[in-house]
């Protein structure tokens, strides 16, 4: 190859390099800007409505307290159902399941479960939990429905996190005369915990903001505080939806205020999880 040709090729490669850096950087920047813009607008519209009364009073006194409590219980219920089952299923897939067609089928159905639209979960919950099991429109039915929606996320991330744990460690434990379960409990799970927690939080944050699955299964436009799992409840996403679609008395203040509270709540959970994770990570590195 002649020197001039080589020079041209190097210049060309250099141009492409700079070009790609700009294109990919611009994509990253646009994502960051949209997130920042969304948050800024949310604060601008929502912050004026946030008052002590707004957070602690019932709707008829201009507050959203029952909706906050309702969403809290729905998420807590979802966590109670989805986390044990999801983590256990993730453990099975990563640590016990034999490689083969049946396991592939299970994985495929989990992936499909993640792709089902949330309104379909709502209908399923209505048929299954509200009517068939007779739990009625209640926190329990809503939590179970949201748990179904959250399960695929938790299972997949748990499995991923377990797979990240080096095979060497499992071998070391088995070679010392530990059973599979002891190996999982003492070595694999502790090492994978940060990743599992991340997945669970991610799934639960999504559940907190879902409207469609609770629409037929748990919520009511205006309900008192739920006193038992079988009570219907208010919930933030549904409250936002209702307030935003009121034909005669639109309440933009309540809508944006509620949205801000919802986002703030989810953010707080995420930040706490991230802090816990970075503390755990400091101990586990390879």
């Amino acid at each position: 190859m002649s020197a001039s040709k080589r020079g041209a090729r190097v210049r060309n490669a250099h141009l492409v390099e700079v070009g790609m850096k700009i294109v990919t950087g611009a994509a990253a920047a646009s994502v960051m800007l949209s997130a920042a813009g969304l948050l800024a607008y949310l604060l601008y519209r929502g912050l004026p409505s946030i008052t002590w009364d707004f957070l602690t009073k019932a709707p008829r006194y201009g507050g959203i307290f029952p909706a906050i409590v309702g969403t809290f219980w729905l998420v807590a219920g979802t966590a109670a159902f989805a986390m044990p089952i999801g983590i256990a299923a993730g453990i099975y897939l990563s640590e016990y399941a034999p490689r083969g067609r049946r396991t592939r089928l299970i994985r495929l159905s989990i992936a499909n479960m993640a792709g089902v639209p949330s309104i379909v979960y709502g209908l399923f919950g209505l048929a299954m939990f509200v009517m068939f099991f007779g739990f009625g429109v209640s926190v329990l039915s809503g939590s179970l429905t949201l748990a179904c929606l959250t399960l695929p996320v938790i299972i997949t991330t748990t499995e991923e996190a377990l797979r990240q744990v080096p095979q060497d460690l499992r071998q070391a434990s088995l070679a010392l005369g530990a059973t599979r379960w002891r190996t999982i409990r003492k070595v694999v799970l502790p090492a994978a915990l940060p990743g599992i927690v991340t997945g669970a939080i991610l799934g639960l944050s999504r559940a907190a903001g879902e409207t469609a699955p609770v629409l037929f299964t748990a919520v009511f436009f205006s309900a008192p505080l739920p006193m038992s799992p079988l009570d219907k409840t208010m919930a933030l996403p549904y409250h936002i939806y209702i307030m935003a679609t009121q034909p005669n008395k639109p309440q933009p203040g309540i809508v944006w205020g509620s949205a801000l509270v919802l986002v703030a709540g989810v953010t707080i959970i995420n930040v706490v999880a991230a802090l816990g994770r970075s503390r755990a990570r400091r101990r586990v590195t390879w």
């Binding site: 460690l169 010392l176 005369g177 090492a191 590195t285 390879w286």
Partner: protein, 261 residues
């Protein structure tokens, strides 16, 4: 066996198959108690596979079948009465890459005994110290057992893994190229440790390094897979000095003089 020492293996026509493919066939040899036996041979000759038969770690790999008989102190380790989990506390293993658990030095060494049900500090403390001493690591870490295992150097981590394996008081220690990922000085320390240990425990070591095999082993077994259509087998086994000076089989001689592999 007649010596009364524990940890002697007798292999009779041992074969290993992964799925439909036979990897090793027809291996018969004995491994003497409280001695160092080196398994040598080129890559892919089944040394590590054979080693993993001795503590039934092959069981964990899925579709693996082991044929023939492997007797440990006269007992067939593949018989129904033998629990592979229990077997592994009698036949320990040290791996090629140091693989300490992400926990303290103390917890690493105590892992095996705790698995076997020893919980009290009064029993564990002396056991941890003794194991670390036997692995020649006590002088370096004895004052700082709470330190995280990942803060140790590679060579120290490997000696920690040896200590961890010794803590369940195994009769046999299997070592799969334990020094190949280490620098020469750390490698030397591992060899010194092996020399001391062989008075109290049977050691079977897989190694690529023939000088190492010649230096540290009492007996050597040479394995070879001559073509991909045929399973690997044992070419020759015998006293290490004889093997390296007057090998019987011309293939052994060709390998140890560096003509292939």
């Amino acid at each position: 066996m007649s010596t009364g020492k524990l940890g002697a293996f007798e292999l009779q026509e041992v074969s290993v198959a992964y799925g439909k493919e036979t990897a090793i066939a027809g291996v018969s040899m004995s491994i003497e108690a409280h001695s160092v036996t080196a398994l040598i041979g080129p890559s892919g000759c089944g040394k590590s596979t054979l080693l993993r038969c001795l503590n039934r770690m092959n069981d964990e790999l899925g579709d693996v079948r082991v044929g023939g008989r492997i007797l440990l102190d006269g007992e067939d380790i593949y018989s129904r009465d033998v629990d592979p989990v229990e077997l592994r506390s009698r036949v320990g293993q040290v791996f090629q890459r140091p693989n300490p658990f992400p926990m303290s030095i103390y917890d690493n060494v105590a892992y095996g005994p705790r698995t076997l049900g020893t919980r009290s500090r009064a029993e564990l403390d002396p056991l941890v110290e003794e194991s670390l001493r036997r692995a020649a690591l006590w002088d370096e870490v004895g004052k700082n057992l709470k330190k995280h295992a990942f803060e140790l150097s590679g060579g120290q981590q490997q000696r920690l893994c040896i200590a961890r394996a010794l803590a369940t008081a195994p009769e046999v220690l299997l070592m799969d190229e334990p020094a190949s990922a280490l620098d020469p000085i750390s490698s030397q320390m591992i060899e010194d440790t092996i020399a001391v240990l062989s008075s109290s425990v049977t050691i079977v070591i897989v190694t690529h390094n023939m000088q190492q095999a010649a230096r540290i082993s009492d007996r050597t077994a040479f394995m070879l897979r001559e073509s991909m259509d045929r399973p690997a087998g044992l070419v020759e086994v015998g006293d290490t000095r004889t093997m390296f000076t007057k090998p019987v089989d011309p293939r052994t001689e060709a390998y140890i003089t560096g003509r292939f592999g």
